[in-house]
C-alpha cells in the first residue's frame, strides 16, 4: 500500500509539472493577446483555464499521497506552511511555496470579476515565480533515480524557458507604442 502511494505521488507530481508548464506556455502565448487572434484566442484561453483546474486535481493527489505514505516524513502542516517538513525541508518547502502561490492565483482568478483588475493581474504575475519553484522542487526530489521522470521535468523547463524567452524578446506594437508615447513630456 505504501509503495502504491509512493508511486502515485511520483506519477501525479510529474503530471502536475507537465500540466503546469502547458498552462504557463498557453498563458505566455496569450499575454497581451500577442499571437492567437479570433476564435483561436478563445480556444487557447479556455485551455489555459481548464488545464489549470485539471492540474489542481493532480496536484491535490500528489500532495495527499506524499503526506499519506510513510517512507519519508511530511506532515499535513507542510501542505500550506513552507519549510516545515522533516524530510528535505528546503525542497519540500519550495513545493509548498508554489502551492501557496497557486492558491492565491486560483482564488483571485475565480473572483476575477469581483476584484479590481489590477489586483488580479499583480497576483497572476506571481505565476512566473511559482513555475520555477515547482520545477526545482520536482528536479530535486522526485526524479533523481529515474531518467525518464528527470528527462520530462527538464523538457518542461526547456519548454517554459523558451516561451518566456519568446515573450521577452518579441516586439509588441502595443507595449512599444505606449513606451514611446510615455517617454514624452507629460508633467
Amino acid at each position: 500500500m505504501n509503495e502504491l502511494l509512493w508511486y502515485l505521488s511520483r506519477a501525479t507530481g510529474i503530471a502536475s509539472i507537465v500540466l503546469l508548464t502547458t498552462v504557463l506556455v498557453l498563458g505566455v502565448v496569450t499575454s497581451g493577446r500577442r499571437l492567437p487572434t479570433g476564435e483561436r484566442a478563445t480556444i487557447v484561453m479556455a485551455m489555459h483555464r481548464w488545464l489549470s483546474l485539471g492540474m489542481v486535481t493532480f496536484l491535490i493527489g500528489h500532495i495527499t499521497t506524499a503526506i499519506a505514505e510513510t517512507y519519508v516524513s511530511i506532515d499535513w502542516v507542510s501542505f500550506l506552511i513552507p519549510f516545515t517538513s522533516a524530510y528535505a525541508r528546503v525542497w519540500v518547502g519550495l513545493g509548498t511555496l508554489a502551492v501557496d502561490i497557486l492558491a492565491a492565483v486560483m482564488v483571485t482568478s475565480l473572483l476575477r470579476h469581483r476584484i479590481p483588475e489590477r489586483a488580479w493581474r499583480s497576483i497572476h504575475w506571481l505565476s512566473y515565480a511559482m513555475w520555477p519553484l515547482a520545477l526545482a522542487h520536482g528536479i530535486a526530489l522526485g526524479t533523481s533515480a529515474q531518467p525518464i521522470l528527470r528527462g520530462i521535468t527538464i523538457a518542461c523547463g526547456a519548454a517554459g524557458a523558451a516561451a518566456l524567452a519568446w515573450r521577452t524578446t518579441t516586439t509588441y506594437a502595443d507595449r512599444d507604442r505606449r513606451r514611446v508615447a510615455l517617454a514624452g513630456e507629460w508633467s
Binding site: 502595443d174 514624452g184 507629460w186 508633467s187
Partner: protein, 366 residues
Amino acid sequence: MTLIDLLDQAGLTGRGGAAFRTAIKVRAAAEHGATLIVNACDGEIGATKDAWVVENQLDGLLGGARLVAGDHPIRVAAHRGSRAAALLAAAGVDVLEVPARYVSSEESALISLANGGLARPMTKRAPFVAGGRDARGRRIPPTVVLNAETVWRIAQIAEHGPDWFRRQGTALEPGPRLVTLTGAVAAPHVIETAAGARLGDLFGAAGGLLDAGLVWVGGLAGVLIPAPEAARLLWSSTDLASYGGSIGSGVVWALDPAECPVAFVDHMLTYAAGESAGQCGPCMFGLPALAADWHDLAGARSGRAVDAADRLAARVALLPDRGACRYPDGIARFAASAARVLAGHLDQHARGTCPPVRTTRSLVNA
C-alpha cells in the same frame, strides 16, 4: 437670482471648444464642492485667446473664478513657459504649469496633472465634477475645469445680466465671443465678436486675407473651407455644420498660399499622431495610420497611393466615438474635410504637378 440661474438664462456655453452648458457645470460644481481649475492653456493650434483674456481681462477672469469657486482656492492652468503663465504668476495667481502638448490641456488631463498624475486624459466613467478614480484606481477629488474666456464671461453676465449677453450672437449661440485670427493674415490677433459674424468681415478686421486659398476653422479638430466660400460664410456652428465644422475653440486660420495645402495637412496629421498620449488603441495606432494614409495619398508615384484614399476613408469612419478623450474624433474630422476639399488638388499633387492655390480676388469684400 442665483449665479446659476443667470448663466442658464444667458445660455452661456463653454468657450474651450466643447460648447457644453456652463450653468450645468457650475451647478454640479456647487453640489459637489468641486475645486475649480481655469484653463488658460490655449491648447488649440494657433489659439491665443486665453492669453488675451489673461493679459487684458485678468480682473474679470479672477472675479468670475471667485464667483464659481467661492472660498475655495483657484488654480489657473497655463502652458509652461508661456506668456500667460508668466503674467498669472506675476499677478500672484496659483498657476498649474502644463506641458505644451495638445492633449495635455484637455479637461481630464488637467485634472490628472493637478492631482499629481501625468497630464494625460483619463477615462470619464462619470464626470470628474463629482470626483472619480484614475486608471490606477487612485481617488480624484471633485474638480471642475472651465475655459478662461468662459470664466470671464461669467463675471460679465453677473455684472451686466443675461439680457445684455443674449443681445449678441445668435439664438443658438448667444453672447460675445473671442476669435483668434491667425495664419496668412496681415495682422494676426484676437478680436471680440459673436457667432453669426461673416468670416470675410472677421478677416477684414484682421487686415484682410493675404491671398489665402483655404481657411481652416476650428484648429486641429476643425475643417478646411475654400477661401471664397469662407469669406461669405457666417461664423456659427449652424452654418459651419454644412462643412462638418463648428466654432470650436474659436481659431480661424488662413493657410499660407506659398505652402502646398496637401503638405500642410500632411505636416499637421503627422504632428497630431505624435501628440497621442498612447493610452487608447484608436488614438495610438489609428492616428499614425491616418497620417500614413495621407502621406501615401500625397506621395507622388510611390505606388502606395493606389488604395490610400479608400484606406483613409475607412479609417476616418472607424476613429470617432472611441477612446478616453475625443482627440481621434477631431483629427478624423479634419482629415475627412481635407480629403474632401483637396480631392482635386490631391490628384494633381500625386502626379507631381502641384497647382498653386491662389485667388486674386479681394476676399474681404467678396
